[in-house]
Symmetry: D3
Amino acid sequence: MSGFSTGQDDAELRATLTEVTTATATALLVQRGYPNAYMSEARPIQAGARACGRAVTIRFGPMRPDLAVRLEDRTAHMWQAIESLSLGDVLVIDCGGDTRGGTVGDILAARIKRLGGVGVLIDGAIRDPAQIRELVGLPAWARGTHGSGYPPYLVSLDWGRPVRCFGVTVLPGDYILADDDGAVAIPATLAVEVAEAGVETERKETFIRGLVEEGESIKDVYPPNEATLRRYEASKREAGR
Amino acid sequence: MSGFSTGQDDAELRATLTEVTTATATALLVQRGYPNAYMSEARPIQAGARACGRAVTIRFGPMRPDLAVRLEDRTAHMWQAIESLSLGDVLVIDCGGDTRGGTVGDILAARIKRLGGVGVLIDGAIRDPAQIRELVGLPAWARGTHGSGYPPYLVSLDWGRPVRCFGVTVLPGDYILADDDGAVAIPATLAVEVAEAGVETERKETFIRGLVEEGESIKDVYPPNEATLRRYEASKREAGR
Amino acid sequence: MSGFSTGQDDAELRATLTEVTTATATALLVQRGYPNAYMSEARPIQAGARACGRAVTIRFGPMRPDLAVRLEDRTAHMWQAIESLSLGDVLVIDCGGDTRGGTVGDILAARIKRLGGVGVLIDGAIRDPAQIRELVGLPAWARGTHGSGYPPYLVSLDWGRPVRCFGVTVLPGDYILADDDGAVAIPATLAVEVAEAGVETERKETFIRGLVEEGESIKDVYPPNEATLRRYEASKREAGR
Amino acid sequence: MSGFSTGQDDAELRATLTEVTTATATALLVQRGYPNAYMSEARPIQAGARACGRAVTIRFGPMRPDLAVRLEDRTAHMWQAIESLSLGDVLVIDCGGDTRGGTVGDILAARIKRLGGVGVLIDGAIRDPAQIRELVGLPAWARGTHGSGYPPYLVSLDWGRPVRCFGVTVLPGDYILADDDGAVAIPATLAVEVAEAGVETERKETFIRGLVEEGESIKDVYPPNEATLRRYEASKREAGR
Amino acid sequence: MSGFSTGQDDAELRATLTEVTTATATALLVQRGYPNAYMSEARPIQAGARACGRAVTIRFGPMRPDLAVRLEDRTAHMWQAIESLSLGDVLVIDCGGDTRGGTVGDILAARIKRLGGVGVLIDGAIRDPAQIRELVGLPAWARGTHGSGYPPYLVSLDWGRPVRCFGVTVLPGDYILADDDGAVAIPATLAVEVAEAGVETERKETFIRGLVEEGESIKDVYPPNEATLRRYEASKREAGR
Amino acid sequence: MSGFSTGQDDAELRATLTEVTTATATALLVQRGYPNAYMSEARPIQAGARACGRAVTIRFGPMRPDLAVRLEDRTAHMWQAIESLSLGDVLVIDCGGDTRGGTVGDILAARIKRLGGVGVLIDGAIRDPAQIRELVGLPAWARGTHGSGYPPYLVSLDWGRPVRCFGVTVLPGDYILADDDGAVAIPATLAVEVAEAGVETERKETFIRGLVEEGESIKDVYPPNEATLRRYEASKREAGR
């Protein structure tokens, strides 16, 4: 039934999801029992960018020197996580909201982009946002900015495991969809469903907004009653969809 | 004495107020005993827009299912408040700062605009800010953005009554003036006075800034002493005002 | 050894520092034992501006009427601090994070600029940011915006003494460097060192980012190992630096 | 079927509810679709007190002088609300979390108690908690304490309407149950059900805790499996309940 | 007219103020134009203690190593401030609310007490509160507790100057009055007036509370009308005051 | 050299650590390069209790229904972590500061105690604190209290891994020391050292406090100069230690 066949290319799925707004995806997830998937505090470092990719996760905690020693160097997890990236991934960094150290700067961002990464999402601070935006061109969302690298105050704990990010539990492999309004974590098992329903929802809402702009009262058309839904279906037939 | 006659059109008053900055209106209200009229956390979703209109208020609280049931549907107050709008109104939404659900999205915004509403001010979250800004064209100020509609976490309590909004008590009928810097609630009884004094204040401050830019010390001209005020009056006479 | 001779013009030092990003300056200060010099909450009122100047400090506290009386008028410290400014100074205002009153508006900003001030940094609220940005042209960083002047809620305590600003201790005479990402306080004794090392760091990071963009793994080049450093030195010789 | 007959005295219902902990009542409300009924920030001014009563609500907002004037005096709503109290009521005060003014002090508390009020619950500040606790003897829960009365910063907006209180929507007539751990709002239509199920839940949990204290693993008894539930039922029969 | 003659001992004034609650002192200061004198976040480390003394102030900021060096050691200001204390002083410590380091521990508290200090008030963290309470016996109010001393994160900036403390400007020489509910800063010039009016206010409120407890409505007696005030005056004459 | 031999019983080490205050342990860890080991927001549910045990960790995140399904039931990790406890363990629960659901209630606390657990430390909410304190007798520290269990808003992510707790990174096996003032995480490799140095530090500080109470100036004895240290050593010899 799905427009996405078994052999559906992940790139196509991500491309379709990218046409869906975070608002629409969030609402569809609410309807499917996920009221807590939206990350409003995820601020973009650029205007107008949209990204969709699979989450690769890494987790940071407040610095303690024995961890830095035990991991041989203070960057091991981060370097492993980044080198694991492949086309269509988003690096998701859980700092517990701690913004006392920039985690990704322009050089790491360049590597992420080179490996096919399509974005970074940081519940903490980013470093060098201007260079990442203008020189590297990697879309990024973060809670804040910090001039320092992370070692003085933060240390990585592990990567590739579930994380908390802006009040949402993110699992490795979730689809992260992000735009100017924030980000949303879409469980992999729901991604096709959200992509298909999302495109349809955007069309229906555009149709309804058109009616409202022509002067119809919201009482009749939003949420749409039976008559309005029939008019929408008719409009689709007319448009040959 | 007032430049606004009895028959003064409300549209003219709103137009005059729109020439006044929120900063100037705030300062004039402080002088008149209202130190708490400014809403600095009211963030615009667009750059450069200015709006002035009369407040139509609605109040939301955390969801409880019996309220949703008792009101027949979860949107009754909101739909009533919006359909009550007429030319020159601003919809003021008190969510108590709770940003867990977007209250107004692009379709409601389209209806508000169609009915003559000139803006929305939300102490909570807005939904679809990009579409509201670019497709609908309704100026809006909010505390945050949320991808979901409001029903999962919020429910309307009443409308048309006093509300708290960004730490300011707003009464129905107050004039809401908003620009890039925030918003201010002007009691209806003071609106003409603020409009007139505001325009005069903007002129006087422009005059003083000119003197400062020419090199005069602030000790003499700001706040203006008698001599400076006389120079200002002279400049007005020269300009034929 | 330093590229800055004894007679080094302060203007030249400030110009060199302005080429360094706040991120680079912050990291260099961390390496020199100053992990707490960066102010991430210092939000610019304009995009793209960079400023560097010596701190002139002033401190505000919550209003109490006896202080306002004793100082003859409520603005004495502020006026003195501003009139003390000379070429290359930055006015640093410590309000303890209290944003209930705008401290600097367009007229004071015009005076600051006229006297040679290169920026203001306010751990509190600014007033009239649009006019300061567009009419006055003085770069400014603040925690928030407020429409009112400061007298209703704030009063100056003293000026020319150490202050706290966005969680950083700032001394009079520190070099304040600020850009889109925030601000950093550079102790005067370290300013030359940070300027020189900063320019070198920016060059080296640009070189490394280039390698990464060409496809080299971060494991080899970032942080740079011996071989990478030799390649960088070779590149400098080639460039004739 | 209910242990509470039609003629059930409200006092008996309140007495039964008072035997239920806020934790048990909260969990029962979660099961009935009310996940948002508990107020953890409601701090008691006394240790060990428990209270249960029907909510009489009043709402405050930031001061504006025209409201104080229009209501003839600044205390009208508060005095009306208090004089409306009868046996078994709890005064619920919504200040929006604003603690800049004490709302109820020892004299108002004495009046509340004299009229039969069984407690006050304030999402704001209380005044004179030591005297209310030791001299008046009225149980109270609040967010904070303030030495001043409310007029300098707060003004009443209305009373007898829905309010927000510690992140919970409270309706007039809700049963407020409060103890050392916080407070919970129980919709009037669910009060009998919560009272009956609550007493049963407390008994069952005491039975299970007994098993655990004797060494049984939580895997078998908590949550109780069929066998454990049968043992509980048997224990009730033995106890003659 | 005053009960305090010219030769009034400061100890007697402090003793009288100690009979006044922080609530009453705060209300009297509001009436005299000081709406911002109360510190509700000042939490006592002991129950039931009351203290009143003259403020000796010290100010801390985030650590920077050059300050620690320049002051020869990191404790110079603190040691000077403490050794300056004499009978009836309260040490007031402004850490800007930063609780990352305990400022006063049991040994410094012992010295403060030995020198006649009657309390400490810390807008920051205290160390060793149990020992200070139980072994040293010095009343203390603070924002929090920290196990570490202050040097890792904080450094003193100066002492004997105006400070901000829990959102209140405190001047050296202010009378600090503190009890279970918080603390209040009383300007020295108002201390006698607050002491006298405070004792009278406590008496009048006790009289009114008595009337309320006997069943009179607050509408008649609180705030007291003319008749109630006459009854109070009569009660005073009867009591021979 | 150590007073703890190779065969040192862990119980003895924990007993010795329990004699050390969290303040002393924190200061010793600062000296050893761990400035971030103290958890000041860990509030005890009882007065006067002290606990020391090895950390067993569990991590919670915001609820998502697929996790609850995949783990077969919503409590699996928690039940496993608790059943893994043995004598001298402390259960450490990382909820990311989210207090929307009580994690441990009286029944789980009873099981923890039965298995030899000596405390729980929750960066989130506890349930039933009164029963845990009075009926179960298990010491507990938490950020808040919640009446509900955790399933509505929280779900466990994993256990037995590093966690963040009150701003401190805690590893499984760390010694958690907690008292009225908060909690501290002591790396296992430093536990013997902190225990020994801690007892000595407590003795030395008691000696110094005694000198101060007898009237010596802190300038000479705190921090102790050479002469004071010699007096302390002499006092130890006298006491036969």
